[in-house]
């Protein structure tokens, strides 16, 4: 197993799948400002995905670049966490998904900023500025919706109940993360789970939300076991390059 390739795919696929989903909000945001915000965040995610997947292709050494990895892998080849492929749903669903991911990304990028690999550290340090900004936005919306009207509160509480089980996949530890952390170029997400838990708890307290207890965690994304949603998403994302491989414009 090429642990470096596997690890970089996880980083790249999280950003790619989430970025693709945020892009689907183009023209559908509840207000113009949010339309722009969600797609701006999506753009940052796609930028991060390009950097991670380019590195993944180099680590694999089989000549695959970012586009080959993004467009010519099937569902079972994707390594994104299940949270990232949850459907956009309504605005509250998207915001909860984003908050849970942003809180994770801030911890992840801080950890990877100290990577022994200079290229990974450079991408992480750059991404850290973006994830901090994203978290500021998604967290503000969590508070506004959670501590808003009765309807916004009940909707976003339901979104949190629905999505929290999928967040566990972000913290999946296995031989890949063990090697990544052991060799100093990557991080074991279990190490920053307590910080993430605290961030979620503090948000819930401020947003008048109740964190569901004893959540049954859904895992499998890191091993290529995905939910049905990912296949629809990939079909739309990949149809053009697969129909016209190597097309240039």
């Amino acid at each position: 197993m090429n642990a470096r390739f596997e690890y970089l795919l996880r980083l790249g696929d999280d950003a790619l799948i989430l970025g693709q989903q945020l892009g689907l909000w183009t023209g559908h945001g509840p207000v113009l400002e949010e339309d722009i915000a969600l797609t701006n965040i999506g753009l940052d995610q796609i930028g991060q995905a390009r950097a991670w997947l380019t590195l993944a292709g180099k680590a694999e050494g089989a000549g695959r670049d970012e586009d080959k990895l993004a467009y010519f892998r099937d569902q079972s080849g994707f390594r994104n966490a299940l949270l990232c492929e949850r459907p956009n749903g309504h605005f509250g669903d998207t915001i909860v998904r984003q908050f849970l991911f942003d809180a994770y990304a801030v911890c992840l990028h801080a950890a990877l900023s100290g990577s022994s690999d200079a290229e990974m550290a450079a991408i992480a340090r750059k991404s850290a500025k973006e994830s901090a900004y994203h978290l500021r936005h998604s967290r503000a919306w969590m508070v506004r919706l959670g501590d808003g009207t009765e309807e916004s509160h009940s909707k976003v509480q339901q979104s949190l109940n629905d999505l929290l089980p999928y967040a566990g996949d972000l913290f999946h530890s296995d031989a890949v993360t063990e090697q990544a952390a052991g060799e100093g170029w990557g991080a074991d997400p279990a190490a920053f789970r307590p910080a993430w838990d605290t961030a979620v708890d503090e948000m819930c307290a401020e947003a008048c939300l109740t964190r569901p207890e004893s959540v049954p965690e859904q895992v499998g994304g890191r091993e290529g076991r995905h939910t049905e949603q990912l296949s629809f998403l990939l079909a739309e994302m990949q149809v053009l390059p697969r129909t016209y491989p190597d097309a240039q414009w």
Binding site: E33, A37, G42, L43, A121
Partner: protein, 163 residues
């Protein structure tokens, strides 16, 4: 034969495609230029990871410099680098003044950590110079800007995010 400084001076004629009042050197996008007997190497860094202007910027640099490099029988290479991460601190005071004159409120110093933590410092309206402004959205017309409104003159304007 042009020196690295000569090439850098030429790069100052390449405008940023989104903010044409600044060139790519003033923006801090150009991180360095080296010249050897056979090549001119230009290193550029993105303001944001997903900045869609990067390809256009690299193309503009090639269009401006390639013919001149060819005169010296050199290959022009444009390389994308991520470290050190771009920061608004690289914008000079002169560049910030140009931004304001163009209608974009310039960024403050990143040492002011309020920029990321939430309590935005006051942003001056580029039109009437009032500090009575408010944030409309953290995200504006491009990845590097936020959207503000002036409560005195009612002007909506972009503010360069401070990162």
């Amino acid at each position: 034969m042009r020196s690295a400084d000569d090439w850098l001076a030429l790069l100052q004629t390449v405008p940023d495609p989104e903010i044409p009042v600044l060139n790519v050197v003033e923006m801090g996008i150009v991180r360095g230029v080296d010249t050897t007997d056979s090549a001119v190497d230009v290193r550029i860094t993105p303001t944001y990871m997903g900045c869609p202007a990067m390809d256009a910027i690299a193309d503009d640099i090639r269009a401006t410099l390639s013919p001149l490099a060819k005169e010296e029988s050199k290959e022009l290479r444009v390389e994308l680098v991520y470290a050190p991460a771009w920061t608004t601190d690289w914008l000079s005071e002169e560049a910030k003044a140009k931004l304001e004159a163009y209608g974009i409120a310039p960024p403050g110093k990143t040492t002011d950590k309020r920029a990321l933590s939430g309590d935005a410092p006051s942003v001056r309206c580029p039109k009437c110079k009032s500090n009575a402004t408010e944030l409309v959205s953290l995200f504006g017309s491009t990845a590097c800007k936020a959207h503000y409104r002036c409560n005195d003159c009612a002007e909506p304007f972009d503010h360069f995010k401070c990162i």
